[in-house]
Symmetry: C2
Subunit: 350 residues, 2 copies
């Protein structure tokens, strides 16, 4: 399994379209800047799509599900069986992201990368099983190099499907019991921060549980002795299949010029990995929301990211990104459809 | 003109439906609390609508336009003619709120309460002209008692039309050059705060302009000598026809049991007036966004309000509330359509 594609350059943003969009914003019948972040997001989308009037009608949400060996350390408030059970819930349309995708008329795909409680073949679920779970990174590397390559490629494959379908916005989501432990460990390694700062309650640990989680991460960091400038090693030793798939997806999206909307803590950590692998990825990322998971803000700061929403969400599944989609759509509608001062014969500023 | 209706009691919230909705939230396939404010908003809507599964499909946005005599003091970055010009822009569908209402499939009504630059009869605009503008409150009371009564009633009439149309959510918006000066003056009187704290740039004043605006407000407060516990006097002396209409609309909505989504600075000041007139109004108010207008946070704090959005918007027209409508709709969809742990056979917390 080769990962030569990782080194391909990212697509260039279209600065001309971005400048045209910026000029248009200044002509619309409103005080300059009065639409706040809805203005900047329209301008950024214009530069991404190479169109003065951007659109995000066609949205793909790809959910990557995978189990984590580190769950054996007792770092989650929910049993490991939930990963597979939730894949079934995705298949039947009962999960939050299914309801959101349906409401948004977005294409939802679920990719099963390996669950201990294997749900088998299911409608609406792609099987790309790498192993039943990663290894327990508290005692050994989470993945082999071959597994890492497969997981990165699985994410890229989702983006290639999105490109085939002329998708205008890609959202990645994840499901995997114990994956905030993996994400926090990766963030600690990349940012050289302490686990006490970046380990949080995840799906609902109490303070004792959070302290234990931080201890497990500290042990793993000591074991692997990683430096922050080896993102693929960090990902292989501490990651999950779904986090690697998200990393691969974001890299591929930037390479193919597809705008990405980042969800919460885990996806932002994957985004940080992708940006460390290729800094030009950053230009293709929009950020949807600030999660209630306390480590998220630190990771957002590292990416100089200012999300649109702050609703105290902490569900994963791409749900925070999905909730932000209507804001992107309204930003585009306002940008594309409002009258200019000249068209409406409205007087300008004194 | 009588305003006896102001004393009518507000409708009661349905606590049973609220508790049923709260219980349902705890059964949905997600960690408890993981949807953040989207959970609480669904529960509050359930209590407002008396339904375990609330809905906000049918939305009415009523924009009240009016001119302000205090514009003569040079307190706005835009000329007074813009109020009437924007009413024309509303009629032709070019304003931000028109684009938003169209995108949301919401009913938009524009009520012209009086503009100096009178656009006359227009399609899609209701004429309820009280006078060409209020008087300049820096030198005399803005309104007579009869004008105040007409303006309050105009707002109530909008809510009665919404009720006739079985609207599930009412949004009020405003257009009126100089109306952040009026709103800041009202807030100063009600909260006994200094104009320096509550006067802001509005549509784009520079620091010199903001200082002048604060001086004009200070002069008016000294002239009228109002106390904070006479909201109708405060409104009559310092308000605008559109602010009074919003106040009347919020009172009537609470009396008729219609959920209200509050927009930005000016509408929040109108909400504060309505709550001072009848504290039970507060239970019927949801708050959409925190405006970039610096005084907004202080007024939100006074109402113990935690808005959904913080996008740096400061346009008025009900635009911030309109942008929050998809969040309410998604909150309802998630609440109503997600599978429960039992339905999906997903394991609960350890």
């Amino acid at each position: 399994m080769e990962n030569n594609w990782l080194d391909q350059p990212c697509a260039a943003l279209n600065e001309t379209a971005g400048l045209q969009a910026l000029e248009r914003q200044g002509q619309l019948t409103k005080p300059p800047g009065a639409l706040g972040q809805l203005e900047s997001v329209a301008v950024i989308l214009a530069a991404m799509q190479g169109a003065e009037k951007p659109q995000v009608d066609r949205v793909q949400i790809s959910i990557f599900a995978a189990d984590h060996g580190v769950a054996a350390e007792g770092v989650s408030a929910f049993p490991q069986a939930v990963t597979g059970e939730m894949v079934k819930n995705f298949a039947r349309g009962g999960a939050a992201i299914c309801v959101l995708a349906n409401s948004l008329d977005a294409k939802l795909e679920v990719v099963n990368l390996g669950t201990v409680n294997d749900p088998g073949d299911l409608p609406n679920v792609l099987r790309a099983v790498i192993a039943a779970s990663t290894a327990n990174f508290a005692v050994e590397p989470a993945m082999t190099k071959a597994q890492l390559a497969l997981a990165l490629q699985a994410g890229r494959d989702s983006v290639l499907r999105a490109q085939q379908a002329s998708v205008q916005l890609f959202i990645g989501g994840e499901m995997g019991i114990a994956n905030t432990t993996s994400a926090a460990a990766i963030a600690c390694a990349l940012l050289q921060e302490s686990p006490q700062l970046l380990a949080g309650p995840g799906t609902g640990l109490d303070s004792h549980g959070v302290a234990h989680k931080a201890e497990v991460i500290a042990r793993a960091l000591a074991l692997h002795g990683l430096s922050g400038d080896e993102p693929l090693d960090v990902l292989r030793c501490l990651g999950g299949f779904e986090i690697a798939a998200l990393t691969g997806a974001y890299l591929a999206a930037a390479q193919h010029g597809m705008p990405v909307l980042i969800d919460g803590f885990i996806t932002t950590v994957a985004a940080m990995l992708a940006v460390q692998i290729n800094p030009d990825v950053r230009g293709w990322l929009l950020f949807a929301h600030t999660s209630a998971e306390p480590g998220h803000q630190r990771v957002l700061d590292a990416l100089v990211a200012k999300p649109l929403l702050h609703l105290g969400m902490r569900l994963g599944e791409g749900s925070g990104a999905a909730v932000a989609v209507p804001l992107l759509r309204l930003a585009c509608s306002l940008h594309n459809e409002m009258a200019t001062f000249a068209e409406a014969a409205v007087s300008g500023k004194i």
